[in-house]
C-alpha cells in the first residue's frame, strides 16, 4: 500500500480545490440564485453543497488510499486503484521505456514523490505510483528503468 501520508496530500489538494474553485463558483451561483429563489433556501443549498464537498475531500482520500496498491513482481508492475472506477494495470517490466519521478510543492513539503511509468504505447503514462518516500521513489525508478530487452516496437 501507499505511504499513509498520501491521505494528507490528497486532503490538502481537495481543500485547495474547494477554496480556489468550488467556493467562488458556489458563491457566484448562489448570488444569482438568491435573487430568484430567495436567500434562505439558497444559503441552505449552497451550505449543504460546500459541506458535502468538504466531507468528500476529507473522506474520499482514505477510501482511495485503501484501494491503491502496487506490486513489482518478477515480470511485471501491477497497480490497482480506484474507488468508483476500479483499474488494475499490468506493465511487463521489459516494455518500460522510461520512468519519471515527480514532486509538487506539497509533496516536497511532505517528503513524498510520485513515480510515473511509460511504455511505447503513447504519451499517456501507463501506470503511476504516488505517495512514495523520496528515496524509495528514486530506488524504484532506477530499478525499473534499468531493464533492457525487447520493447515490442
Amino acid at each position: 500500500m501507499l505511504d499513509p501520508r498520501i491521505v494528507q496530500l490528497w486532503r490538502l489538494q481537495a481543500l485547495l480545490r474547494l477554496l480556489i474553485f468550488w467556493l467562488p463558483v458556489t458563491l457566484g451561483v448562489a448570488a444569482v440564485a438568491a435573487a430568484r429563489f430567495g436567500i434562505a433556501p439558497t444559503v441552505i443549498l449552497a451550505g449543504f453543497f460546500l459541506i458535502f464537498q468538504l466531507g468528500l475531500g476529507l473522506g474520499w482520500p482514505v477510501l482511495a488510499w485503501r484501494r491503491y496498491r502496487y506490486s513489482i513482481r518478477e515480470h511485471d508492475l501491477l497497480v490497482e486503484k480506484g474507488v468508483l472506477f476500479r483499474n488494475t494495470v499490468s506493465v511487463p517490466l521489459q516494455r518500460i521505456q522510461h520512468v519519471d519521478t515527480r514532486q509538487g510543492p506539497i509533496e516536497r513539503w511532505l517528503g513524498l514523490s510520485s513515480l510515473v511509468v511509460y511504455t511505447a504505447a503513447g504519451l499517456n503514462a501507463d501506470a503511476s505510483i504516488p505517495g512514495l518516500e523520496e528515496g524509495d521513489a528514486l530506488h524504484l525508478r532506477d530499478q525499473l528503468a534499468r531493464r533492457g530487452g525487447d520493447d515490442g516496437v
Binding site: A121, G122, G149, G152
Partner: protein, 503 residues
C-alpha cells in the same frame, strides 16, 4: 546531386570523421514547400480577412501587417529549410542536420524505422521530384523528412536504408490486391456523412425558424414540402459526391504489394504515395465494416505501426490503409500484415460478451441519448427529438449481440459495433500494457473490461463477467511474460530486495 557542406557546415558527423559527403534538397524544394506552406498559413489566418474588411483604416493596416509578417515567416521558414537541411547515409544510418539558429543533428537507425513513404504531390510530379518520409516510433510525425529530392535518389535512399534493416534482402514485389474505380466509388458512398448533411440542413432550418418564424415560414411556403425533400436529397448527394471524389483522389490506382520485407501500398491521384511497412513492425490491424460497406461485401483494413501517419481529410488512419477489401479476402490480407494470425475471425465463432453487459449497454445508451435529446427538446420546446431516442438502446442491443473476442496463442481478436463494426487484431508479442477496468455499473453487475495497449493504440475487449475478465487478464499476463522472457533474461525484484515494492 549538388553537394554543399563539408566545409561550410561543420557538424557532428564530420567531427566524427565520416567521409560520406552531405547532400542537400533540390532547389525546387523552395517552391514545392513554399506554396503549401503559404496555403497553410493563409488557412490559419482566415480570421484576419473579415477583420480587414470590417475594420477601419488603421486597424486594416495593422491586420495587413500581421498577414504580411506571417507570410514572410512562412517564406523565411521554407528558405531556411532548404538552405540548412543536409543529409547522408553514413555507417548504415541516416543523418540529418537542420536549423539556422538552433542546429539539430538527427541519426536514424534503419532497424528503428517503422515505415517509409515516398510521396509525390502535383508539384513534385511537375518538377520530377519526390518526398521521402521516414517514420520511427512516436507520435510527432515523420522523424526523417526529405521534402524534395530526385526520384532516383528517393528510391536509392529507400533501398539503402531497407538493406540495413534486419530481415531478408529480396526486392521482388508481388501484387496481392488492386482496388478498382467502382470499388473506390463504393467506398466514397459508404463513408459519406449523409446523416450529418441531413442533420445540418434540418438544424439550419430550425435555427432560421427560431430566429425569424416569419422568414422560415415564407421560405418553407416558397419551396414547398417537395422542395424541402429535394433540399435534403441535394445535401445527401453533395456529401456523397464529396466523399466519392475524396476517395478517388486519395486511393486512385491502389495496389497492395508484398515483398520479402513486408507490405507496400501505392495510391493517389494527384499525390502519389508509396508506403512500406516492415513485417515485424505491425502492431495492430483494424478492420472496419460499416453497415453499407458490409452490404456491398467489403471491409477496410488499417495497419498500425508504432509510428504515426498523416491524417486523410483530418481523420486519423493507419500507416497502411486498404479502403475496400472483399470480405472473403479480409482474413487473408490481415494475415499478410500479421503472419502470426492463427484464426480467421470471420469464420471462427468468437466468444460472446457477458449477458449482463446488455443491461449496462442499454442503460448507458438510453442515458446518453436522453442527454442528447433533452437539451434539444428544451431548446426548441418540441418533443420530436425523443422520437429518435429508441435508436440508442436498439443499436446498443445489436452492438452487444455482435460483440466477440478470441484469444489464441499469438493474437487477440476483439469485435464491436453493429452499424460501424470494427474488428481489431493485436499480436501478443507487441503488447505493452494491460488494464482491467470496472465502473460503478460494472461492479454492480460483476462485469470487467480488459483493455490491451500496444504502441499503435489500444483495444478494449467486450464486457465480460468479472471472473472471466480476470482469467483473460491473467492469461494475457502469462503469455506476455513467456514472450518477453524468450527475448531477454529477466531480473527479479522481490519485496525482500526493495521494502516498499509490495502492497
Amino acid at each position: 546531386m549538388r553537394c554543399i557542406c563539408a566545409t561550410s557546415w561543420p557538424v557532428v558527423g564530420e567531427m566524427m570523421g565520416s567521409e560520406v559527403p552531405w547532400r542537400s534538397l533540390q532547389p525546387a524544394s523552395v517552391l514545392i514547400n513554399l506554396l503549401p506552406d503559404l496555403g497553410r498559413t493563409a488557412r490559419q489566418l482566415w480570421w484576419l480577412l473579415p477583420a480587414m474588411v470590417v475594420g477601419g483604416g488603421f486597424q486594416r493596416i495593422v491586420d495587413f501587417g500581421f498577414l504580411l509578417f506571417f507570410l514572410a515567416m512562412s517564406f523565411f521558414r521554407t528558405i531556411t529549410h532548404y538552405m540548412t537541411l543536409r543529409y547522408r547515409v553514413s555507417g548504415g544510418r541516416l543523418e540529418l542536420v537542420e536549423g539556422l539558429f538552433f542546429r539539430q543533428h538527427r541519426l536514424i537507425d534503419p532497424a528503428r524505422i517503422q515505415n517509409m513513404e515516398v510521396v509525390r504531390n502535383i508539384f513534385h510530379r511537375m518538377a520530377g521530384l519526390a518526398e521521402l518520409r521516414i517514420d520511427t516510433a512516436g507520435e510527432g510525425g515523420a522523424e526523417g523528412l526529405l521534402s524534395a529530392i530526385s526520384i532516383a535518389e528517393a528510391n536509392q535512399l529507400r533501398a539503402e536504408l531497407a538493406n540495413h534493416q534486419p530481415g531478408p534482402t529480396a526486392q521482388e514485389e508481388e501484387e496481392e490486391l488492386r482496388t478498382g474505380f467502382l470499388e473506390l466509388l463504393a467506398y466514397g458512398f459508404s463513408s459519406a456523412r449523409s446523416g450529418a448533411a441531413v442533420v445540418a440542413v434540418s438544424v439550419g432550418y430550425e435555427l432560421l425558424f427560431q430566429f425569424s418564424p416569419q422568414m422560415a415560414g415564407d421560405a418553407a411556403a416558397r419551396i414547398g414540402s417537395m422542395g424541402m425533400v429535394g433540399l435534403l436529397l441535394v445535401a445527401v448527394a453533395g456529401s456523397t459526391l464529396v466523399s466519392a471524389l475524396t476517395s478517388i483522389r486519395s486511393f486512385w490506382g491502389l495496389r497492395l504489394l508484398k515483398t520479402a520485407r513486408g507490405l507496400v501500398t501505392e495510391a493517389g491521384l494527384f499525390t502519389r504515395s508509396r508506403v512500406e511497412v516492415p513485417q515485424g513492425k505491425v502492431q495492430l490491424v483494424r478492420i472496419d465494416e460499416p453497415l453499407v460497406r458490409r452490404i456491398f461485401g467489403y471491409g477496410t483494413i488499417q495497419v498500425e505501426t508504432a509510428g504515426s501517419s498523416a491524417p486523410i481529410e483530418g481523420e486519423a488512419r493507419g500507416e497502411l490503409m486498404l479502403p475496400m477489401v472483399p470480405k472473403a479476402a479480409l482474413a487473408w490480407v490481415a494475415s499478410l500484415a500479421l503472419p502470426a494470425l492463427d484464426i480467421d475471425p470471420w469464420k471462427a465463432t468468437l466468444r460472446p460478451a457477458a449477458p449482463r453487459a446488455l443491461l449496462r449497454a442499454l442503460l448507458g445508451a438510453g442515458l446518453r441519448w436522453a442527454l442528447i435529446c433533452l437539451p434539444i427538446a428544451i431548446a426548441f420546446r418540441d418533443p420530436t427529438p425523443f422520437f429518435f431516442w429508441p435508436i440508442g438502446p436498439i443499436s446498443a442491443f445489436f452492438d452487444w449481440r455482435r460483440q466477440g473476442w478470441y484469444l489464441t496463442e499469438s493474437v487477440i481478436v476483439s469485435r464491436r459495433g453493429f452499424f460501424r463494426r470494427q474488428t481489431s487484431i493485436i499480436s501478443l508479442e507487441k503488447l505493452q500494457a494491460l488494464r482491467l477496468e470496472q465502473g460503478p455499473l460494472m461492479q454492480l453487475n460483476r462485469l470487467g473490461r480488459v483493455v490491451v495497449r500496444v504502441a499503435g493504440g489500444e483495444v478494449a475487449l467486450p464486457d465480460l463477467h468479472l471472473d472471466e475478465a480476470s482469467q483473460v487478464f491473467e492469461k494475457l499476463q502469462e503469455k506476455t511474460t513467456q514472450r518477453t522472457n524468450q527475448t531477454a533474461p529477466n531480473i527479479a525484484i522481490t519485496s525482500e530486495s526493495t521494502p516498499t515494492t509490495t502492497a
